[in-house]
């Protein structure tokens, strides 16, 4: 039962990704051509409300469902890994038209060709793991 809440949250996530066309290759293409506000509105409003939520959590020292204080891990300071890694990610995002979340939602939607993309993503993660110590971070 511990996992039911995560399953249901995932279901809500999957439905909204599909219904707002965030899983659409076309919407990503349109976004990178700056020809629609749709994706910017989604990410922008999520970040504004998300930032508000994070501030409220921090200021009220909100506790999670288990009673432990909610904490945030600051990301490591670096430029190269975020810029280079992010650029590689962006190349794939615009080609596949899907980032990791939508890949899985699309499989559920019935588009099984996304399984090839997911295998590629797992493979990419694996190769990163092998090369990690040789890459600048």
């Amino acid at each position: 039962m511990k996992y039911l809440k995560f399953l249901l949250t995932g279901v809500v996530f999957g439905i909204v990704m599909a219904k707002a066309e965030i899983i659409s290759w076309y919407r990503i293409y349109e976004m990178f051509r700056f020809e629609s506000f749709h994706m910017y509105g989604i990410i922008g409003s999520a970040v504004i409300l998300g930032a508000l939520a994070v501030q409220i959590i921090k200021r009220t020292q909100l506790k999670d469902i288990e009673g432990a204080q909610i904490t945030f891990n600051p990301k490591n300071r670096s430029i190269i890994r975020y810029l280079v890694g992010g650029t590689i990610f962006g190349l794939g995002w615009a080609l596949a038209g899907a980032c990791p979340g939508p890949m899985f939602v699309l499989v559920g939607y019935g588009y099984l060709s996304l399984l090839i993309v997911i295998v590629g993503a797992v493979l990419g993660t694996f190769i990163y793991g092998l090369l990690r110590n040789k890459l600048p971070h």
């Binding site: 996992y3 995560f6 949250t9 995932g10 809500v12 999957g14 439905i15 909204v16 990704m17 219904k19 707002a20 290759w25 076309y26 293409y29 349109e30 990178f32 509105g41 989604i42 990410i43 922008g44 409003s45 999520a46 970040v47 998300g50 930032a51 939520a53 999670d64 909610i70 990301k75 300071r77 670096s78 890994r81 975020y82 890694g85 992010g86 650029t87 590689i88 990610f89 962006g90 190349l91 794939g92 995002w93 615009a94 596949a96 038209g97 980032c99 990791p100 979340g101 899985f104 939602v105 559920g108 019935g110 060709s113 090839i116 993309v117 990419g124 993660t125 694996f126 990163y128 990690r132």
Partner: protein, 185 residues
């Protein structure tokens, strides 16, 4: 029911995504889908090849369950919440697609030129899908997060590294959309 089956507006989707992020924090975890790719490597035996995969994957089970939920959500949307209509793109985007050699979209989500049977079962088409996934998987781990981990969770927590990562997402995305797609197709 029409309100549900027609595409949802950005001002509906954005707040729900923020709610998902908040719920995962409230459940004592964090919103970040790409971590599951690492967990999958560990489960597949990747810990024998690199220390990066020596993690206790049981602590990540909740995230795998979340992704399973996302798959189910996609299924529910397809079966019960869809009106089967196409997508309402900017006409300029449709013109750009035609210049790329893509038909005007008939389905809402995926162009058959990349994801259709004809493409998937050709060597070039197969490698495009595998390669696109590879770039996403490699890039997201190198950058330490994807759209959910950096663009939503990270930016919400006002993390400069996440802003740099998102700038990278756009450098790569713009390069692919405007320079590489016309070469590939």
């Amino acid at each position: 029911m029409d309100i549900i089956t027609q595409p949802w507006a950005w001002y509906v989707a954005g707040p729900i995504i923020a709610l998902v992020m908040f719920l995962l924090l409230y459940f004592g975890e964090t919103f970040g889908v790409s971590s599951n790719l690492r967990t999958m490597c560990t489960i597949a035996g990747g810990d024998k090849y690199a220390d990066f995969f020596k993690i206790d994957w049981r602590k990540q089970q909740w995230n795998l369950v979340f992704v399973l939920g996302a798959v189910i959500g996609g299924f529910i949307a397809a079966q019960y919440l869809s009106n089967g209509q196409g997508i309402d793109l900017n006409p300029k985007t449709v013109v750009a697609l035609e210049q790329l050699g893509f038909q005007a979209p008939t389905a809402a989500y995926l162009p058959s030129e990349i994801f259709g049977e004809h493409s998937v079962f050709s060597l070039k088409g197969f490698l495009i899908l595998l390669g696109a996934g590879f770039l996403v998987g490699f890039g997201t781990r190198y950058a330490g997060g994807c759209t959910s981990g950096h663009a939503i969770s990270g930016l919400s927590n006002l993390q400069i590294p996440s802003l740099i990562a998102v700038i990278g997402f756009f450098i790569g995305g713009l390069l692919m959309t405007h320079v590489l797609l016309p070469i590939i197709f």
